[in-house]
């Protein structure tokens, strides 16, 4: 099935759309999940994450913009986003359990606070479109700086300095807001 037909089925919420999505991209989605959720405690979350991705694509396929790139790339991004989110939730949960066990006080480092999902979504609004995309690639999709540099045909240090400038912008905005 070609992408156009698949998107049409998903937009129409057709009963066969999920089966069609699995047939066309199920393997790709599961491979992305496997590549990111590999720790022992994460493995059993793979199926849940797979269903979460299918559900997200089924519900929000309208967010995909054909003019901006291939559907396969978009599906990889959505899957990475969901898998990283699962990873982050599990890591938070495990950390909390560990801390509870040791009766230690909970302190969240600034960096982690910034990239926690809810904050992130509102904070990156201060960035321009290109930097927003860079932040999403780095902090939401967890792409390596090497990969980003290669894809954007820039040096690693250029990417690092853009990230640093972006973080500075966000820090200033936080200070202005009194946070």
């Amino acid at each position: 099935m070609n992408d156009k037909k698949l998107i049409k089925l998903l937009k129409e919420k057709h009963e066969d759309s999920i089966d069609a999505l699995i047939t066309s991209y199920g393997k790709l989605i599961y491979a992305v999940i496997n590549s990111l959720l590999y720790l022992p405690e994460e493995i059993e979350e793979r199926d849940e994450c797979f269903n979460e991705v299918l559900l997200t694509l089924w519900t929000y396929i309208g967010c995909y913009d054909e003019s901006k790139g291939q559907l396969s790339n978009y599906i990889i991004s959505v899957t990475r986003y969901k898998a990283i989110d699962t990873k982050r939730k599990l890591s938070k949960h495990n950390k909390k359990e560990e801390l509870d066990e040791n009766l230690q006080s909970l302190t969240i480092p600034m960096e982690e606070e910034i990239i926690s999902k809810d904050n992130f979504n509102s904070l990156i609004k201060v960035l321009d479109e290109e930097d927003r995309k860079l932040f999403i690639e780095r902090y939401i999709l967890f792409k390596s700086v090497e990969d980003i540099a290669e894809e954007q045909k820039q040096t690693k240090s250029a990417i690092y300095s853009r990230l640093s400038r972006g973080r500075e912008k966000i820090r200033k905005r936080l200070e202005v807001s009194g946070l």
Partner: protein, 288 residues
């Protein structure tokens, strides 16, 4: 920035061919396994949408109004259409209600149209005194008969002779095969039991001397005859099983007349359907 906004931002992100190739090494599940993994997704979706519908109704309630009970139903017209046209024919599921979610409060009745996954299209609201008639019966065999009627309509209004022929062939294939087998059988029975049962009398005329001896007949049977006999036995058993299924399969159907000209016809999904049907009927009786 909402989830939707983040998902919009994910457009235009590229991945290198090396990364995509690397993903192949993580590819260890078959499509069939993946379909199994997502098997409970439909019921999850359905449940979450139903809960959303419930919340929507709660927001529409007036002061002192409470939801007494609800009933989920499959649109009978849609089921018939699906069976008659086959799943091969695609149609916009958004435009046709697959299911009904009906919420009955102490004042009103909310009838929600929803698609295959119970995603709500909207609600129609009636006062309880607008329920004019509620009928319930068991359906199964009856529906199948109606479906056959629909198939004939499909053939009648088919778009072209080729499509008509295809539909006729599709639905008549079993009949044609049965007819061929039956003709063969009759011919064989005539040959083995009747033709050989004739004897020639003293006067030179042929007389029927009863059926040809069964043992002799079976000796005379070829492998081909045996295969045909086995096929007939299999078809008879299959027919009996189908007939039993037809007659024993039944579901609760509720037909409602609301206001003067609004009708609702659905198959009840709830396990406590009988009880709910009685409650709905009592509401309509009160309005008579």
């Amino acid at each position: 920035m909402s989830e939707k906004d983040i998902l919009k931002e994910l457009n235009g992100i590229e991945y290198s061919s090396e990364y995509k190739e690397k993903l192949n090494s993580f590819n260890e599940v078959s499509i069939e396994e993946l379909k199994l993994k997502s098997a409970n997704l439909k019921s999850k979706l359905s449940q979450s949408y139903f809960e959303k519908q419930k919340e929507m109704v709660k927001e529409l309630l007036e002061k002192g109004e409470e939801i007494d009970y609800y009933v989920k139903g499959a649109n009978i017209e849609m089921l018939r259409t699906m069976i008659a046209f086959g799943r091969g024919l695609t149609f916009k599921s958004n435009d046709i209600p697959f299911n009904y979610s009906i919420f009955v409060t102490n004042k009103r009745i909310f009838i929600g149209d929803s698609n295959y996954y119970d995603e709500a299209n909207g609600f129609t609201v009636y006062n309880l005194d607008e329920i004019k008639e509620v009928e319930r019966d068991k359906v199964g065999y009856k529906v199948d008969r109606e479906v056959k009627k629909r198939r004939r309509q499909v053939m009648k209004f088919g778009v072209s002779p080729a499509v008509n022929f295809f539909i006729l062939f599709r639905y008549s294939f079993g009949f044609i095969v049965s007819l061929v087998i039956l003709t063969n059988t009759l011919f064989m029975w005539y040959n083995n039991y009747i033709r050989r049962g004739y004897v020639v009398g003293d006067d030179g005329k042929r007389y029927f001397d009863g059926f040809y001896d069964l043992m002799q007949a079976s000796d005379a049977m070829t492998t081909g005859d045996n295969i045909i006999f086995s096929l007939i036995a299999a078809i008879i058993i299959w027919g009996i099983v189908r007939l039993v299924k037809y007659l024993t399969r039944s579901k609760l159907r509720i037909s409602m007349k609301l206001k003067e000209n609004d009708y609702l016809d659905f198959i009840v999904v709830n396990e406590d359907g009988e009880e709910i049907a009685k409650k709905l009927q009592s509401l309509s009786n009160n309005n008579k």
